[in-house]
């Protein structure tokens, strides 16, 4: 649909603009302001220029948590996207069974994040949690509070449990939108199951999948509450992701200048990667 050029449309956008500007610009400017000062107390602030940025960029602790963050987000996408597609393909197409599946699958999405952490904190315990107990019974030595690898896998498993439903529901609605005629044509051509998936379903899922990847990337990159409740970032700092490092720095140590500089770099990384995805979306839309 061609859009009409009309600048009066700004009046319709104005409320959103003002509201979001109030919630976004003022705090963002505050962060920028902090990032160039060294603050000792009220009225005792000194301009330090780009000093904090230099320090943050060379900080070993931050680099470590950045690498952990990328590894985590990468693993999240690699597992959740294929699994989500698989689940969506298995879900019943319609009727009461379809609605029921939809609601049951959506349950993890509706649980507050700290409760998600609490659920897994208990569920994965070796003594009173079903999962930890079962794994130990199977003869595998498992203890997520003590072992780095176990802690990692538990956080990852929790995230897969929590967020794969979102990918599944997105793909499910994408699949519902494919006209029946496509499948009939494939049947006439005696196309194999794989061919139907590869040449009919997957291309049609493209735009939904980009949204899924975008949302999953953004949210896994900002993950805070769930690992904080589950492992507290430990053992050591093996499951301390970016948000937690930042929050500890800003609120725990009250190291405002450094935290602010770090915030800005953090935001820029998310923005840059999301911009790449966003360009991909608009590009895909144009192709249609």
């Amino acid at each position: 649909m061609d859009k009409i050029p009309d600048n009066r449309a700004w009046w319709l956008v104005l409320p959103v603009f003002l509201l979001v500007a109030f919630s976004a610009l003022v705090p963002l400017m505050t962060v920028v302001n902090y990032s160039v000062q060294d603050i000792f107390g009220p009225g005792q602030a000194y301009y330090v220029g780009t000093e904090w940025f230099k320090e943050v960029l060379t900080d070993q602790r931050l680099q470590d948590s950045l690498i952990r963050q990328f590894a985590f987000s990468g693993a999240v996408l690699l597992i959740q996207i294929p699994l989500g597609i698989g689940v969506a393909l298995m879900m019943p197409k319609s009727g009461i069974k379809g609605s029921l599946c939809l609601i049951l699958v959506a349950i993890p999405l509706l649980i507050p994040w700290n409760v998600v952490g609490t659920i897994w904190q208990i569920f994965a315990r070796g003594d009173i949690g079903l999962f930890g107990w079962a794994v130990n019974q199977a003869g595998i030595d498992y203890n997520y509070t003590g072992d780095t690898v176990d802690a990692w896998l538990t956080v990852l498993l929790m995230d897969v449990w929590h967020w794969t439903p979102l990918v599944a529901l997105l793909c499910y609605s994408g699949l519902r939108a494919i006209p029946e005629a496509f499948y009939q044509a494939a049947e006439i051509d005696r196309a194999s199951k794989w061919a139907v998936f590869r040449y009919i379903q997957l291309p049609r899922l493209k735009s939904v999948l980009i949204i899924a990847v975008l949302l999953r990337f953004m949210d896994s990159f900002m993950i805070y509450i769930e690992p904080f409740v589950l492992t507290g970032g430990g053992p050591g700092s093996s499951t301390t992701f970016l948000s937690q490092t930042l929050t500890t720095m800003a609120i725990g140590q009250f190291d405002l200048g450094r935290a602010a500089a770090f915030s800005l770099i953090y935001f820029l990384i998310v923005l840059l990667i999301s911009w790449l995805f966003f360009t991909a979306i608009t590009h895909a839309d144009k192709e249609k």
């Binding site: 009409i4 979001v20 976004a24 962060v31 393909l89 298995m90 649980i111 409760v115 970016l242 935001f267």
Partner: protein, 268 residues
């Protein structure tokens, strides 16, 4: 039809695995603390409602739920009110800076809440809104409004512009057209947007906890109280957790028919 059989088995297994952790929480909420810590039992041996009784009889507990629901409702209303006209503008008109504005809006959905914690605290304290429902509702607009505009714009693009033109020819003014003709046509889009706004506001804790202390404290923050001097009160914690799932279930039940459509954000 063997294919369907395999699929049914697969999805059943997936859903069972998905529900096991939730069952474990439910299981625990009906146990006494002695039984919880005493060892592994697959179902409550001494079935008890005591944990729930603690929550329903103590105002400082159940007020947490009321606070959460209050700011979530305010947030959903504000989000829809501002996002509807904006989404209409984005779906119908080309205007100065529209693409940049759209990406800027989305970029706020990407801002890590941890970045904004302290500035938010200061901003809302300085205008005297600290520890009020409206403060949390406004803060949650930061990520809900951009998403709402995005979803609604997709739905609105699906309505041909001929409807708008016809309404004007029939002598409708813009507000009258928008409310009487246009909104009913994108009903399911509005339902889905409300669901998403509800969901993301309900599950968020970081901002909600930072912006409140007593009067508007969300249930998630109150749950940390169960960690006392004598250790964690697991039973009450589990019961509180179970109760946080229920509002979400009610909401998704009401919008279930729209959800499949809307999860594609109106784009397919």
């Amino acid at each position: 039809m063997r294919q369907t059989g395999y699929k049914n088995i697969g999805i059943t297994i997936y859903i069972l695995l998905l529900l096991t952790p939730v069952y474990w929480l439910l299981n625990m909420s009906f146990k006494t603390n002695r039984e919880i810590l005493g060892g592994l039992t697959l179902w409550p041996q001494n079935f008890t409602f005591d944990n729930y009784a603690v929550i329903f009889t103590d105002p400082s507990w159940y007020n947490g739920y009321l606070n959460s629901m209050a700011y979530v409702s305010i947030n959903v209303v504000i989000t829809l009110l501002v996002a509807l006209p904006a989404a209409y503008a984005f779906s119908r008109y080309k205007f100065l800076g529209d693409k940049h504005l759209f990406f800027w809006l989305l970029s706020n959905r990407m801002a890590p809440p941890a970045v904004f914690l302290l500035p938010f605290f200061q901003l809302y304290s300085s205008i005297g809104l600290f520890d009020t429902h409206i403060a949390v509702a406004l803060a949650h607009c930061l990520f809900n409004v951009p998403l709402a505009v995005w979803i609604l714009e997709g739905f609105m693009k699906g309505v041909p512009r001929e409807y708008d033109e016809m309404a004007y020819i029939d002598g409708y003014s813009f507000p009258k057209f928008f409310i009487k003709v246009f909104l009913p046509m994108i009903r399911s889009g509005i339902g889905v947007t409300a669901f998403f706004a509800f969901m993301f506001s309900w599950v968020e804790l970081l901002l909600a906890r930072t912006l409140t202390s007593v009067d508007a404290q969300p249930i998630g923050a109150i749950m940390t109280r169960t960690i006392g001097a004598s250790g964690i009160d697991w039973g009450v914690l589990a019961a509180a957790g179970v109760l946080t799932i229920i509002p979400g279930l009610l909401v998704i039940w009401f919008v279930r028919n729209h959800v499949a459509k809307g999860f594609a954000l109106g784009r397919v």
